[in-house]
């Protein structure tokens, strides 16, 4: 175990260079596309017909559901999207009553939010999940290793997994009908079929304007809030509502993109590998300085204990 003087200086030289470079390192810009597509869901228009679920099932070649899409009793229990259903519609009774004193339901369609700065994409070890220019958060199964870190990261608990496939399981989530919307005039299956135009497809900026106009034109009908405008840095799917979002199963998430902290720490520590190089040089220095043998503390004169 010998450290030559030359080897030692080579290391410390590299460490110095790395420290200089790291100071010049600037934080990476936001990965969010400028003007992606999005969907605006107007919860006041949704009638809970589940045609969107049906369309999604057909467009994505998903297995037939256990109970038919016409069966309204499915709505009696809240559901989550899973590996066989990329979107589900849930029914809530937030407390309002109509003229005949019946509780008024609100229906909420949920699916992947296609976040502007997706936590899943930041987390994915191999970059199998990416935010595309058109707004879709796209999954490339040929890269995926099945680590499920994307599922840990997603604040909306969206990605599901084919846990019962032993060899080639996939991460399953709403695709935003990536292929369809990549073509001119293409719509996601759900937005195309919705009979009440509860789902509006378009450029995210346009949709935000539409949402604000609807709220402004009809302040009695809507709350002054757009879920997805700022949540986790903005999402491509956005919602407007008559009932507070908390009562409709929407979760409270921070406005800051959730992967920011991890990315900032990661990038400031490892930019140009400056910290490992500095550490390497430092340890090399210590090793060089303390070569030679030292006696056992109990054999030393004037025992230090």
């Amino acid at each position: 175990m010998k450290l030559t003087r030359r080897g030692f200086f080579k290391i410390t030289g590299a460490a110095g260079a790395a420290a200089t470079v790291s100071r010049a390192y600037a934080a990476k810009a936001s990965p969010a596309p400028e003007d992606p597509f999005g969907c605006l869901v107007d919860l006041t228009r949704c009638i809970g017909c589940r045609k969107c679920e049906d369309a999604c099932n057909r467009v994505n070649d998903l297995p037939p559901p256990a109970r038919s899409f016409e069966d309204p009793t499915v709505l009696n229990r809240p559901r989550r999207p899973d590996e066989k259903a990329f979107t589900v519609v849930n029914r809530y009774f937030p407390g309002q009553r109509d003229a005949s004193n019946q509780l008024v339901p609100t229906f909420v369609k949920i699916q992947c939010m296609h976040c502007q700065e997706p936590a899943c994409a930041s987390a994915c070890i191999v970059g199998a999940l990416t935010k595309k220019e058109n707004g879709a958060v796209h999954y490339d199964v040929t890269r995926c290793i099945g680590c499920r870190y994307c599922m840990v990261a997603c604040p909306f608990e969206i990605p599901a997994y084919e846990y019962h496939d032993p060899i080639t399981p996939r991460v399953m989530k709403c695709t935003f009908c990536f292929e369809r919307i990549s073509e001119a005039g293409g719509l996601p299956g759900c937005a195309e079929i919705c009979p009440t135009e509860a789902i509006t497809f378009g450029r995210r900026k346009t949709l935000l304007a539409v949402a604000k106009k609807r709220i402004q034109d009809n302040p009695a009908r809507y709350l002054q809030e757009i879920y997805g405008e700022k949540e986790v840095g903005g999402t491509s799917w956005m919602y407007i509502t008559a009932v507070p979002f908390e009562k409709l199963g929407f979760i409270d998430v921070p406005d800051k993109p959730t992967p920011r902290l991890a990315e900032t720490i990661q990038h400031s520590l490892f930019a140009y590998l400056w910290s490992p190089i500095v550490l390497y040089g430092l340890l090399g220095g210590i090793m060089w300085a303390s070569r030679g043998n030292r006696p056992h503390p109990e054999d030393e004169e004037g025992d230090r204990r």
């Binding site: 175990m1 010998k2 080897g7 989550r80 930041s122 987390a123 994915c124 070890i125 191999v126 970059g127 199998a128 890269r143 995926c144 290793i145 099945g146 680590c147 499920r148 870190y149 599922m151 840990v152 990261a153 604040p155 909306f156 608990e157 990605p159 599901a160 997994y161 084919e162 846990y163 019962h164 496939d165 032993p166 060899i167 080639t168 399981p169 979760i251 409270d252 998430v253 921070p254 959730t258 992967p259 902290l261 991890a262 720490i265 990661q266 990038h267 520590l269 910290s275 490992p276 550490l279 390497y280 340890l283 090793m287 303390s290 043998n293 030292r294 056992h296 503390p297 109990e298 204990r305």
Partner: protein
């Protein structure tokens, strides 16, 4: 130090080893089930709970408890305290085996085991997991290189493989003698690299959960998680060495090596003290102590982790009497080891509370069997290797007495 490491050549099939073999067989069955029916067939993992026992124990705890490898290498080879040499090889062997089993654990846990090489080709620098994976891969290679001289020492000049493998004798022989000649001169490159890589991935392991601020209980979610993981890994290094050396020497009827172990734990007072100060300071600064007495599963797990895993053993180590007694020292070190293990399980499993689904998670029998089987295999191979390779240097107890 007058004695040198030597192969023990003791009887191998003791009753304890038979128990290990049974556990291994059970684990192998569960593992077969995993590769036939899928992860869902043997585990309780779900959409809300994508990571469970395997990541918490097989991977996170495995990596933390293998920290004896780089911390002893630092002490003996970098700071030049060569009198610690007797514990370097056992710690190195534990690290080699530990990391090997981390990778095997990962092969079981990731859905597409055959794709485990893909991170080498597809890089995502934003992903903390990518950094961890790269470091673990490089470090595993460094560990094998560091261990090669031990093999060379035993078999150089007398390679004699059985049966058809005999054709390889010449090749293996030349590799070993080359390793013996060259490695000694350049080993410092790998020793420093090992310490650097360890610091990198030990801390990044703590960064893994930073991506999920809304899901991790505030008692654990802190921006200094990477620092906490690094300091706790460094602090658990020497207690782990004491723990395993004491286990190995008493089960193999060797001398207790107290002359080396006692001063090691004096260093631990500072290292564990630093970790404790960071952990308590963080709690005070962020004001999370308000959660301490809520009495939920999470807060209780936190209290156990801190009190039994950090504070009590730290107080014990302060006492000279404890450090001089083989038994008490073992108890204190076992508590520290248990505390770090619990911390990893807490961060990855207990603290993880997905906001939408109140999915509670408890590992399925299949998950437990696989984990237990892996640990049993690790102990089995450790025992096999120390009887055939020069790893332990403690003399047999009859001789020293």
């Amino acid at each position: 130090m007058t004695h040198h490491p030597y192969p023990l050549k003791t009887r191998f099939w003791t009753p304890g080893v038979v128990v290990l073999a049974v556990l291994m067989a059970a684990g192998a069955l569960a593992m077969a089930a995993r590769f036939i029916g899928g992860i869902g067939y043997v585990s309780n993992l779900s959409t809300a709970r994508p990571w469970g026992l395997w990541i918490g124990v097989d991977v996170a705890s495995g990596v933390a408890l293998a920290a004896g490898g780089f911390t002893t290498a630092f002490l003996a080879h970098i700071v030049g305290r060569h009198y610690y040499e007797p514990v370097v090889r056992p710690a190195l062997l534990t690290a080699v085996l530990g990391y090997t089993f981390v990778v095997i654990g990962l092969l079981v846990d990731i859905g597409r085991s055959w794709a485990i090489w893909k991170p080498m080709v597809f890089w995502n620098f934003n992903s903390v997991l990518f950094e961890v994976a790269m470091c673990v891969m490089f470090y595993l290679n460094v560990l094998y290189i560091e261990f090669l001289p031990v093999v060379a020492e035993q078999y150089k000049g007398r390679v004699n493989l059985p049966g058809p493998l005999a054709a390889l004798n010449g090749l293996v022989e030349s590799v070993l003698s080359l390793a013996d000649r060259v490695l000694d001169k350049i080993m410092w490159v790998f020793i420093i690299a090992g310490v650097v890589l360890s610091c990198m991935h030990q801390s990044s392991l703590g960064s893994l959960m930073l991506v999920a601020p809304t899901k991790v209980h505030p008692l654990w979610y802190t921006p200094i998680l990477p620092l906490l993981f690094l300091t706790s890994a460094i602090a658990v290094g020497y207690p782990m060495v004491v723990f395993e050396t004491t286990l190995a020497t008493s089960s193999l009827k060797r001398d207790g090596e107290m002359r080396v172990l006692a001063p090691l734990t004096r260093i631990t007072i500072y290292l564990l003290g630093l970790y404790m100060a960071l952990k308590i300071g963080d709690m005070v600064v962020r004001g999370t102590y308000v959660h301490l007495l809520e009495g939920t599963a999470q807060t209780n797990a936190f209290l156990v982790e801190m009190v039994l895993g950090v504070i009590v053993p730290w107080l014990m180590l302060l006492s000279e009497r404890v450090r001089r007694s083989r038994r008490a020292l073992f108890a204190a070190c076992a508590m520290i080891v248990g505390g770090v293990l619990l911390n990893r399980v807490n961060v990855f499993v207990v603290a993880y509370t997905p906001p939408v689904s109140e999915a509670s998670y408890f590992p399925a029998v299949g998950e437990i069997l696989i984990t237990v089987g892996l640990i049993a295999t690790l102990m089995f191979i450790y025992r096999f290797l120390v009887t055939h390779l020069p790893v332990l240097s403690a003399p047999a107890r009859e001789v020293s007495a």
